[in-house]
Amino acid sequence: MADETQKETHPEQPRSPEPRPQDQPRAAEAAPAPAPRPAESRPPEGGRPPREGRGGEGRGGEGRGPREGGAGAGGAREGGKRGRRGFYRKKKVCRFCVDRVDYIDYKKPEQLMTFIQERGKIMPRRITGTCSRHQRWLAEAIKRARNIALMPFGGAR
């Protein structure tokens, strides 16, 4: 999560160095809840002159390309939309919290398969929107499943 904000604020850095130190501690605080980020990132964009804003968006869009591809392969959760006022993201919700999951079973690889990438990597939280607690349980379950050959370590052979 912190990564993302850094990348987004990066193009602005030479013009306005102040927002960055402000943003970083806030990003660390808000790490468990991804919701407030879009609301936060909007005001500085609106405050800037339009010419500058467009430039930043363009570069940001290029950087975001591959990551959106990854989301499409997995959850199709991240639908970045860009309106006239700037960039905002759909609020992601932890799927396990919605279903009120208290224990993620490693013996059901069909369910866990949706949370790994093609090469067998565990999907990061910033893409799936899983909350930190469930991500921890999920990682544990995936690792157990890998251990007993229910899930792959390194993708398709």
């Binding site: 009120r100 208290d102 224990y103 490693y106 013996k107 690889p109 157990r144 890998r146 251990n147 007993i148 050959a149 229910l150 899930m151 792959p152 370590f153 390194g154 052979r157």
Partner: protein
Amino acid sequence: MDERLYDMIFICRPATPEEEIDKLLATLEHTVEERAGKVEKKEKWGARKMAYRVHRHREGYYVLLVLRATQGDMVHELERRLKVSDIVIKYMTVRLDEDMKRQKRLAQRREKKASRRPRAGGRTHGHGGGEQPAAAAAQAQQ
């Protein structure tokens, strides 16, 4: 000593006859009983494709045992038996009681919350619903 819950999964060679697996299971169960444990569940998943090759096998015969143990060396002995067995190509034991305890605790907490909600009066309808009882209480005080 407190009881512990374990999942024990092992994978046999796909070509092993069923009797051999049953024989192995019988010896395992015997050890469990010997050590004052209990077999909660015994599941034979049968031959299924493995996610990667193990000892050149692409398939494996999965067997799951859910065990309750009171003596610490029970798992040790069972794992030793699986290790020396020729038909077993992979095994894993997972301690589950702590996860289950956590699960129960969370379920209880949620139940408590759910039972508290109706008394709070329309809390589920958002902020507007929550404010009304407060306003009513303030009026009652006046």
